[in-house]
């Protein structure tokens, strides 16, 4: 499987994403600058965390109009797997590929710690490789407070789009939401960082299952 890791000005988890899928998972990947306009030859897109465009205006709001974004939107609409983590999640909501929005944590603090997550939908292309229903991943964000209106929430619950919830809600997110997919299930956005939890040496390995699930889903589809 060949992943594209999108690099915006201000992305800072791009190398971690690359390391996770290449060095830990043994798949292939390429860092792709935001100025690229094609995703030809890629089977999956990883939008990393960071502070794209300095988080000016709103997190993800300016990255959403980068030259690469039309290609990402096409790729997603054709059923390609897209993962956005942290700032990547914010970019996906701003782009309209995922419902809702992310704003300031209720505490107004930047929170950086390991958090326990429930896998609320194990039957997705991002979670199928997990054999457990709780995992621990680090979060590191100031604006991870997920909001959507009650109708959208009900729709997502009915469709199984809520994939990860916090056991102990750190940021005020509606319904403890940590990660959601689109209705088609091929685009996932999440605030916790799976790419920072891929090797025992660094303390956590629960993120690997997510990338394994994506790789399995892609190979099954090919």
């Amino acid at each position: 499987m060949r992943f594209a890791v999108i690099v915006f000005p201000g992305s800072n988890c791009d190398e971690d994403m690359y390391h996770a899928v290449v060095d830990q998972l043994g798949e292939s990947a390429q860092l792709l600058p935001h100025t690229a306009t094609s995703l030809a030859g890629f089977d999956g897109v990883l939008i990393p965390g960071g502070f794209s465009y300095g988080d000016y205006l709103r997190c993800g709001a300016i990255a959403r109009f980068s030259p690469i974004m039309p290609a990402i939107i096409d790729f997603a609409n054709q059923g390609g797997l897209v993962l956005g983590v942290c700032n990547g999640f914010q970019v996906l909501t701003e782009a309209g590929l995922l419902p809702g929005a992310l704003h300031e944590n209720t505490s107004l603090e930047f929170i950086c710690k390991d958090t326990e997550l429930k896998i609320t939908n194990p039957n997705t292309r991002f979670t199928s490789a997990y054999t457990t229903d709780t995992i621990t991943l680090p979060i590191a964000h100031g604006e991870g407070n997920y909001y959507c209106d009650p109708d959208t929430l009900a729709q997502m619950q009915a469709n199984g789009q809520i994939v990860f919830t916090y056991t102990d809600n750190p940021n005020g997110s509606v319904a403890d939401i940590a990660g959601i997919t689109n209705a088609q299930g091929n685009v996932l956005g999440m605030m916790p960082h799976p790419e920072r939890a891929v090797e025992a040496l660094l303390g956590l390995t629960d993120g690997l299952g997510l990338f394994e699930s994506m790789a399995q889903a892609t190979k099954t589809a090919l």
Binding site: L57, R58, I62, E104, Y147, D149, G172
Partner: protein, 85 residues
């Protein structure tokens, strides 16, 4: 030339953590009668154009497309004609 003044705030249904924090600071300063604080964003855009209605339509597009996240924010704007220099 026109000047657009754009005011953006969270929708009332969204808890505004910054507004809440400012409110509690004001209460600590003994302004106990401050019942609510909303903190938002303010933009000024200068636009060339002949027809004020056209400029207004353009400003609305600009808000919907970039300046405002309509999922969580709401906005209003005013447009003034500027004297030619």
């Amino acid at each position: 030339m026109y000047l657009a003044k754009i005011y953006v705030t969270y929708k009332p249904s969204i808890l505004d953590p910054k507004g809440e924090s400012i409110k509690s600071a004001l209460h600590r300063l003994a302004y106990e009668n401050v019942a609510d604080v909303t903190m938002g964003k303010y933009f000024e855009l200068k636009l060339t154009g002949v027809d004020q209605d056209d400029v207004a339509a353009q400003v609305k597009d600009i808000c919907d497309k970039l300046l405002v996240n309509v999922n969580m924010e709401t906005y209003r704007f005013e447009i003034e004609a500027l004297e030619a220099v």
